[in-house]
């Protein structure tokens, strides 16, 4: 693959698709026991857009990201990414489609038994078949981008939460996903470390054309980076629109209540 030679986050220019709709959920239902968390949800995201999911705790935001990452399976409905089925689909197809998706978790989930460098190169080498040199070269570029070059040989336990989360972002980007899923990536951080992580994400949002799906309670950040904001309540989208509209003149009472509680 020639992708190793590109700059850290340029998109693969040879992609035959690349425009229009990237993610589509159709009539997706997810239950835990007899608790229906998502009920017949329809929802799509266009290529290159930055979509922020907001809403009260328990409204199903994480569930959507986990469905897309195939950490959960829906009970009903279909999910497609870049025209390919992610659900229902064979294990083999899931593995193919999953290459297009990267995720950053609230708790970082770095591999504590590996150095920062290995954390980032492990998957490109074993999954994409990149050479070790090319993977390390790219890891260095990504670490420079997230401002952690001097920590390349450390283990995660030697880093602060904010630094770990920036490594986790680099690790996800190393796979050159088309979509980046971000689930409350600053919620587990001490307040003084939040800004550093958000700055890195702003940078990525500005300088790349990666599609972002982001769950966050950082409303200023959401306002800055989002093309679209979706307000969730009880597993349904009750309001959607550009950030200026949702944050300044929300239509729904629930949205107004929610925003006044978090802002």
């Amino acid at each position: 693959m020639s992708t190793d030679t590109h700059a850290p986050f340029e998109k693969d220019p040879g992609s035959p698709r690349g425009t229009g709709e990237l993610i589509r959920l159709e009539k997706v239902t997810k239950r835990f026991g007899d608790h229906t968390v998502l009920d017949n949800l329809d929802f799509s995201v266009d290529t290159g857009k930055h979509v922020t999911l907001i809403g009260p705790s328990g409204s199903g935001k994480t569930t959507i990201l986990r469905l897309l990452m195939t950490l959960l399976k829906p009970d009903e409905g279909t999910i497609t990414v870049d025209g390919d089925r992610l659900f229902p689909a064979s294990e083999k197809q899931v593995r193919e489609v999953r290459k297009k998706i990267g995720m950053v978790f609230q708790q970082f989930n770095l591999f504590p038994n590996m150095t920062v460098l290995r954390n980032i190169t492990e998957a490109p080498v074993t999954v994409l078949g990149m050479s070790k040199d090319a993977a390390e070269e790219r890891a260095r570029e990504l670490l420079e981008m997230v401002g952690l070059s001097e920590h390349i040989d450390k283990h995660p336990a030697q880093l602060s939460g904010g630094q770990q989360q920036r490594v986790a972002i680099a690790r996800a980007l190393a796979m050159r996903p088309q979509v980046l899923l971000l689930d409350e990536v600053t919620s587990a951080l001490d307040p003084e470390l939040v800004a550093g992580v958000l700055d890195v994400l702003r940078d990525i949002a500005r300088s790349t054309d990666i599609t972002m799906l982001c769950v966050t309670h950082e409303m200023n950040f959401a306002r800055d980076i989002s093309d679209q904001v979706l307000m969730f309540d009880s597993g349904r989208i009750i309001e959607a629109g550009p950030p200026e509209k949702i944050f300044s003149e929300p239509e729904h009472d629930r949205t107004r209540e929610f925003l006044s509680a978090v802002l």
């Binding site: 195939t70 593995r95 290459k99 978790f105 989930n109 591999f111 504590p112 590996m114 074993t126 796979m175």
Partner: protein, 216 residues
Amino acid sequence: MKWDWSAVADFMPYFWDGLLVTLQILVLGSLISFALGLVWALLMRVPTRWVTWPVGAVTEFVRNTPLLVQLFFLFYVLPEWGITFSALTTGVFAIGLHYSTYTMQVYRAGIEAVPVGQWEAATALNLPLRRTWTAVILPQAVRRVVPALGNYVISMLKDTPLLMAITVLEMLGEARLFAQQQFQFTEPLTVIGFAFIVISYLASLALRALERRLVH
């Protein structure tokens, strides 16, 4: 009763023979129990009852019957079926097998203690299942279980004299033989008593060093 240094001196050649056998049993038995226990623990995670049920039943049975009975069984019954090994080989296998049913529980706890987020990160990075086990889960699980495995090594050391029952001349066997021939019990038994303490102390030092190396 008086202490006779010349009896100690007379016993020493036999002691070294016995020590060598005891250490062989301990080292090989430990290695078998570490390897086999991991195999059991992994088989118990295969998502079909056709695997977990037999493995669970056999290991439960072995864990809950006395090692001495297993030694006799393997040493006296297997040859009737035409399977013969030396007493030492049989003993090492029996003790390794017996202890593997304990180490499997240690591994299971270690594997379950790896946070679910590690599995999720591996999935998100599309790592193949095999690679997830070998590069992510097992290194973390094994690191956690070294102290518990070490405790079983010490227990195993204290069970090695049971192999005397199937004619293996480890330290106690040598001491008993010497005592019966010379009518001097105190000296050989005291010597091997100290030897057991020294071995378990050295083993615990070695395990602690290993632990420190693993916890990076």
